[in-house]
Structure formats: C-alpha cells, structure tokens
C-alpha cells in the first residue's frame, strides 16, 4: 500500500548519524575475526553496500523513477512498523515482528532537478527538515548555483508560503515548511559562514538581514545575522588578532635552545609531532568542498584559486618530500654510512608518524625516499640495517597503488576515527614490534589522511558522472556521491581535534631553512654521489647547444665547507630567548622556494638550465641536459652557502639563523643577494644590501659585482652575512662592526 512521502523521523540520515555509523564500523572492523583479509581481493559489491547507506537497508526496495515538472525522483518502497504505543519500539529486532505490523511507505529522493526544485526539496512534502539532503546540498551546491541565487530562492519560497492563502487544514504544514526553511538558514550560516563573507559589502548577508528584519524580527536567526555581519566588518577593519601566530592557546613551547636540528641526530618523535602539528593546522583549515573535482581539478578553467586550502595541504606534502630529498642529497661528500643514517632517521620519523596516524607526512616521507634521486642510491640503501629496510617496505606497502589503493583505504576505514594506531598486516614485523613496544598508548590521536586519495576519487566522480541529466536537470545523485567523500573528510577533520601537540618555533625555522632542490638539481646531486652505472643514452634534439661547458670549472672542489649545509644551526649566546614567529619566518610556499632556487641559484652544470626552468620551452627547441652529461666530472659546479641576515630585530637576538642557498659558478653579487633575500623573505632592492663571507679573523665584503663563485674563500666555511648597506660604507673589509642602524 502506498502512503504519502517520507515522514521526518524515518529518514534521518544526518551526517551525525552517518558519522556514528562510520565510527561504529571502525570499531567493529577491528575485531580479530577480520584479520585474514589480505587473502584475496575484496568483492567490490561488498564495498559498495558500505557506502550506500540509505539504499540497501533490508526493508528498502527500489520502486522506480518518477518524473514531475523540473525534477526526477527515485522512489523506494520502505517497510515501516505501525506505531504501537503499547510497545517500546526498540525492544525487539525487526525479524521477530509479524508482518501484519508492517506497512509500506513510499519514499522518494530527488535524483535530478532544477535549482528551484532542489531548493524546495530541502524540506520534505510535509515540511520536515531533510537533514541528509540539506547536508549534501549545502556541501555541494556551489558547483551548480551561486550563494546569492540559492538564498534568493530560499527567501522567496518563505515569502510565498507566508503570503499564501492557505486552507485552514494546511496551515500547519505551511508553518512547518517555513520553520524548516529557517532551520536550513541556521545550518547554512553555522556550517558555511564563509559563503556569506563576500567582501566588501556582504550582499547575501545584507539580503538576509533585510529579510529577517521584515519577517523574523528579534528571532534567533536575526541576531545570528547581525552577529555575523559584525564579525565580518570587524575583520575588514583589521581587528583580527593573532593571524600568523603559531602558538595555539594552552600549548607548551618546547625549548631547544642549544640543540642543533641536524639530521640524522634529531629527536624522531619530536620531529614527527611537529610535522603532524603543521599538517593538522592545515587539515583543520581545509574547506572540504574545495576538494570537489569541479573546483580542484579544473585548472583549465582557472579556478585553482578557489581551492586555496587544498593547495596549502598539497604544498606542505611536497615540502616534506622535498626536505627528505634535500637532506639526503645535499652533501655530496658524506660517507655512505652517514647518508644511510639520514635515511634511517627519516624512517624513524616516519615510524612515529604511523603511530600518530599522520598519513599525509608519512606518505610524503615515503614518497621522498622513493623519489628517483634518493631511491637510486643503491650503495646507500644497501647498508641500511635489515630492520630499517623492513620498516621501509612495511610503510611503503600502506601506500601501494595496487587495487586502487586498497590497503590505504582499508586502513583509513579502520583507524580513521579510532583512537590509536593498531592495524598492522601479518607481515608487518617492524610495525607489530613497534605497537607492541608502545603497549596501549596513553594518549589518543586524531588522524590526518593523505588527501590525494580523496582528490582522485572526487576528480574521477566529477569526470565520470555527468553534471546534468534529463535535458539539463542538475544531477543531484552526483552530489550525493561527492558528499560521501566529503563526509569522510569532515569526519576525519573532527577526529583531528584529538591531537594535542606543542608548537616548536625552532622546528619551523629548521623546516624553512632546508634548501629545496628541483628535479634536475636533485638528480644531478644524486649522480654525483653515485654515478649511473649505465648512463642512458639521451636522445637529444639535433639543435641542442652542447657547448655549454665552456666556462665550466674543471677542478673538482669538494664542498666540504658546506657540510651540514642543509641543517639549521641555532647558536645561542646568552640567556634563553623565547622566539616569536616574526615576519622573516612566514612560510614560503614550496613552489616559490623551489622556483627561487631553480631559476636563480641553479648548479650550472648546464647553462641551458636556467632558461629551461624559467619559462616555457618549445618541445622542439633545445632540451636541458638533465642526465649526467659529463659522468667523468666529480666535483660540483656550485657551492651551498649559508647566509644569515643581520639586523637589530629583537626576535632573533642572540641566535644566528642561517639559510642555505645554492651558488653556481656564474652568479654575480646582486644575483646572490637576490637569492638570499628570497630565502630570507626580505623585500627591496638588492643594491641596498651587502654580502660578506665570515672568515676567522675578519669579514670579507664581496665587491658589488663580483663573480661570487670565484670570489669566495673556499678554505673556510661558506658562511655569509647579509646586511643592509650603510650609506657611505662601501668597502669595509675588516672588523665585525655591527651595523646598528641609527
């Protein structure tokens, strides 16, 4: 028998409930009975039913499709119990109840519709709030309508309902409908306040204000709107405090005054925690709907700026990988065992990340280690201890691409909202050992996922499922599909609140100070460390200019002076100083860093490099020599120098902060100063700075247009000071005269 549309209480598949279900599943999944899953491939059907939470309930049956003007519905028949006030509804399992106590209800879901119809569907036919639908709608509407348009439709609908000459019998329903619309507005304002920012005039919010003044004066919604407006305009007037401040309230600052942040001898756990803290801040700020394929993956439509929070996460991921690559490679003259120790240190950090369930930095480190320039160092890997090598394989297995990243997905399902990391495969000896050692951890952790999997899924959904169906109706089923992924992200964001990690500004400084190598630089360094046994015969275009070695320095200068150049030294010469994050230390995006180093401070193994990196080149034009074009060469044609900035800045008092930059053999003073300024985040004219090398007895100021590569004194450490040029003090050579600006 067919009854009306769904009643409100029956269909509450709110996010909260879905979340609970997921969480419950996470726990259920951890039962030992499911341990032998690795045996064979999972059946996809099974997985599907896990995600279709509202479709495959045992008492649901697909009835068909229903087309009305402007919308298409999927209709299900659902068995529900008669309401029996004498019995408590939850006391018995469904199966025990006789069929006589069931009736069939017809339930319909919007499959596709016009924007108008989709807005109407925020309430059920009875005017009840359809919370799942509201969640899906609000999370995804931006791909088919503007904020203003949706608001307009909502308000119009309200007004229409208010002014309708309703029959007395339907007064209740009409009121219910309006109540639901107001509830939707509340949810919208609470969940996506950013939609209403629209600087500088906040038109949608103003419109809403006008509406509440007229229809709902003094209501909760009205005051919420006023409050939001006040917040936005306060922010516009620059009253926001704390932007860029690293310390979250109540966080403890670890003081590491004297410790050198120098791999391999770093506190692994601390490094893992700090990486996690960085990731967590970005992950919590992530706006899930920016991950939607239509936003993130449509760079051809130049909408990438709409995905700033996604980009920030990706940049951080890359930054971590870059640091792995760079710290392993940047010192060409390490003994193999020393380099192996650096690999091992990263593996130890990675292991701690696994315990912290930070899959983002974990994968970033593994990716760095698997990147070609590092991975190809066979001799370095060969002397890694057996345990470490095993650990590496176990950690890498988590991110196997096999079977559509099944291992990773499964792990996230199991541990996503669980408190601790406790999932290991039977073959994961090292991880088993680790978890055993730790016993039951006292602190619970959140989870930080590797975002790429979600991004791929959302991109593929966006590619595979059409935006519109039935002659232009918005395909809302696609939005539901997308929401399944967004809901997982939101769920994990919630779980990330479980992290309580201290903030160590010195770590951030170390992080920023590590030099970034681009692809070619890394490969070149790698080939210096271990020349390719079988250098690939590059097929080069005929017109390539191969005479680039003209100005090459042929003597091999071992860069002993730059040893440890990738490391950050913190030298303290006095009382403990609490640092603040100052403007110098604001994080530069890795792309910029990388670009900075690649376009300006490249190793000059090939002159074509700088042009190759600074712009587009036509494919038929010359190609930069990337492979070891001159395998018999042993020394680098660049140095890595460390530059500090001297100023009176109180924050850095007593501490010398060095940044590493690459210095190639054709760079002149202004260029080197420019590179250093970029690294140190200084603005202005290179001519207004001087650069001097720190020598034991004196400083040597570099002439204003010297070829720095040849001018430096390689007998000593390549430590440099950049300082503002004092008027009239061109050629001071001696004395460590402090340039106190007066």
């Amino acid at each position: 028998m067919l009854v009306r549309g769904c009643g409100g209480g029956e269909l509450r598949h709110s996010l909260a409930e879905r979340t609970k279900a997921l969480a419950a599943k996470c726990h259920a999944l951890r039962s030992p009975a499911r341990e032998q899953r690795s045996v064979e491939r999972r059946r996809p059907r099974n997985r599907k039913s896990q995600t279709r939470w509202y479709v495959k309930q045992p008492t649901w049956r697909l009835w068909g499709e229903e087309k009305v003007d402007g919308a298409v519905y999927t209709v299900y028949l659902k068995k529900v119990r008669y309401h029996r006030p004498t019995r408590s509804a939850s006391s018995e399992s469904d199966d025990e109840i006789s069929h006589l106590e069931w009736e069939t209800v017809r339930v319909r879901f919007v499959k596709a519709g016009t924007v108008e119809r989709l807005v109407e569907a925020l309430a059920t036919d009875d005017g009840e709030l359809e919370s799942t639908y509201v969640n899906v709608f609000l999370a995804t509407y931006r791909s088919f309508a503007e904020c203003g348009k949706v608001l307009d439709l909502l308000l119009r609908r309200y007004q229409a309902l208010a002014s309708e000459d309703v029959l007395p019998a339907t007064v209740d329903t009409s009121q219910q409908h309006r109540k639901t619309l107001v509830a939707c507005l509340h949810v919208w304002l609470d969940t996506y306040p950013e939609d209403f920012r629209q600087p500088p005039h906040h038109p949608a919010l103003q419109q809403l204000l006008a509406f509440t003044q007229l229809h709902l004066p003094g209501s909760e919604l009205h005051s919420k709107v006023l409050q939001k407006l006040a917040v936005f305009s306060a922010e516009r007037n620059g009253c926001v405090g704390g932007a860029g401040v690293c310390l979250a309230p109540g966080m403890r600052v670890l003081q590491h005054h004297t410790s050198a942040y120098r791999l391999p001898h770093v506190p692994h756990r601390h490094f893992a925690e700090q990486l996690t803290r960085m990731d967590m801040e970005l992950f919590k700020k992530l706006v899930p709907h920016q991950c939607l394929g239509a936003v993130w993956s449509r760079r051809d439509k130049d909408r990438s700026h709409d995905a700033a929070t996604v980009l920030a996460t990706v940049n951080q991921f890359n930054a971590v990988s870059f640091r792995v690559i760079s710290t392993v490679l940047v010192e060409p003259n390490l003994r193999p065992i020393e380099r192996t120790d650096i690999l091992a240190a990263w593996l130890d950090i990675a292991r701690e990340l696994r315990v912290l369930k930070n899959f983002s930095s974990l994968k970033a480190i593994i990716s760095g280690l698997q990147s070609n320039p590092v991975y190809r160092l066979r001799k370095t890997w060969a002397i890694l201890s057996k345990e470490k090598a095993e650990l590496f394989e176990e950690l890498a297995r988590i991110f196997s691409e096999d079977n559509n990243r099944w291992a990773q997905r499964e792990l996230l399902m199991r541990e996503g909202t669980a408190k601790f990391a406790d999932t290991v495969g039977e073959n994961d000896r090292q991880l088993q050992k680790l978890l055993h050692e730790r016993g039951s951890p006292g602190v619970s952790h959140g989870t930080i996922p590797y975002l790429g999997t979600f991004l791929t899924d959302l991109t593929m959904i966006d590619t595979a499922i059409p935006d519109t169906v039935f002659d232009g109706l918005i395909n809302f089923d696609k939005k539901r599909k997308e929401f399944e992924v967004l809901a997982q992200i939101k769920l994990l964001q919630g779980a990330a609140n479980a992290y309580h990690l201290p903030c160590d500004p010195l770590f951030d400084r170390w992080f920023d100070s590590v030099i970034i190598l681009d692809d070619r630089e890394a490969y070149q360094l790698s080939c210096q460390i271990e020349p390719p046994t079988n250098p690939p015969k590059e097929r080069r275009p005929k017109n390539i200019n191969n005479n680039s070695q003209g100005h090459r320095k042929n003597d091999s200068i071992a860069s002993t002076s730059s040893s440890n150049s990738s490391q950050f030294y913190c030298e303290t010469d006095g009382a403990g100083n609490a640092w603040k994050r100052d403007s110098l230390e604001r994080r530069i995006s890795p792309t910029r860093l990388s670009h900075g180093s690649s376009s300006s401070s490249l190793p000059s193994l090939d002159v074509s490099l700088s042009s190759a990196n600074s712009g587009q080149k036509t494919a038929n034009g010359k190609a930069p020599a990337t492979s070891p074009a001159h395998p018999n060469k042993t020394g680098p044609d660049f140095y890595i120098i460390r530059v500090t900035y001297e100023s009176d800045c109180v924050e850095t008092e007593g501490v010398v902060l060095y940044k590493s930059i690459m210095l190639s053999n054709n760079e002149r003073t202004p260029q080197v100063i420019r590179n250093a300024m970029l690294k140190l985040n200084l603005d202005g004219d290179p001519d207004s700075y001087t650069l001097s090398q720190v020598l034991p007895e004196k400083e040597m100021v570099l002439p204003s247009n010297a070829n720095v590569y040849y001018a430096v004194n390689t007998a000593y450490n390549l430590n440099f000071i950049l300082r503002p040029r004092k008027p009239q003090t061109e050629a001071i050579v001696n004395g460590k005269a402090k340039n106190k600006r007066t």
Binding site: E393, N404, G452, M460, A464, I465, A623, S627
Partner: protein
Amino acid sequence: MREYKIVVLGSGGVGKSALTVQFVQGIFVEKYDPTIEDSYRKQVEVDGQQCMLEILDTAGTEQFTAMRDLYMKNGQGFVLVYSITAQSTFNDLQDLREQILRVKDKVDVPMVLVGNKCDLEAERVVGKQQGANLANHFDCVFMETSAKAKISVNEVFYDLVRQINKKSPKEEKNKKKPRLCRML
C-alpha cells in the same frame, strides 16, 4: 592472464581522467564508483590474447610532485597526454618524458603521445604536425584522440599493450629485481 600497468600522465585539464574513464567504462555510467578496487581495471583482448589493464590515473594528484617518480617506477607503459587546445600542456611533456627515462633508467620505454580534445578543432593551437614531430623526436607512436567524442581512445591502450609485448614478450616471473639490492 598477463597484467599491464599503464600510467596516464600530462598536465591538469588535458583529459587524462576523461580518457581513463572512457576506456575503462566505455560509456559514462551513472553507477560509476571510483573508490572500489577494480574501477581502473579493464580486461581486453589484444591480438587474440586476453590482457588485464590497470590504469593508473594521476588525476587530482598532479601537484603532488614527489609522487610522480613512484607512478613512473610502477608503470610499464605510458600515455603522455596534451590538449590540442593548450600549447603549454604540449610543452610540459618534454620534462615528463625525461623524468620517465631517468626513473626507468632506460632509453626505450613503451609510450604513446596523445593529443586529446581533437573534437575541438576550432580551438586547436597545437598542430597535428607538431604532435607528429614531437613523437618522432620521442621515437614513439602519436595519436590524436577525443575522450568526449570517443575517437581513438581504445587504440591508445591497445598500442601500448603491443609495445609492451614486443619489448618484453614474456611475463617476467620474478617480478623485477629485489627492491634494494641487499644481500645479507
């Protein structure tokens, strides 16, 4: 049945995912679920032989630059895609190819150069001859395709299968060399 791992590479927006979906799914189906494990797998018959193709699409993760090496290490055949409507996507391929050769440490890697979106003739900026020249330079096969209009999509993948077969006729039983040549 022999398995083939194919990696689709190219700048964002050139149509990598569209090609992948078009090949794997045939038609755009409503029930498509990208999160299940065989969503990028397809069994095909090439020259009378059954093959299982697993397509690794970097869709959505193009900007995770450090991961490219891994994709490349795992891939046996490569589809290098540009869009005939965007010159920059064409220019980007030189670097990608070099990276592949470095990672594979080989000169000869099964590869197809693909100029996608050939249905958009009116917006063409990369000439067919340009594509052919680059392919010549790469010493690989060249095809223009349209994921949208379903032009030459399957051919790209079939050709790769043939190339892989030619270069390594038999399934190597012992999956490559051990990861780290560690003899303890």
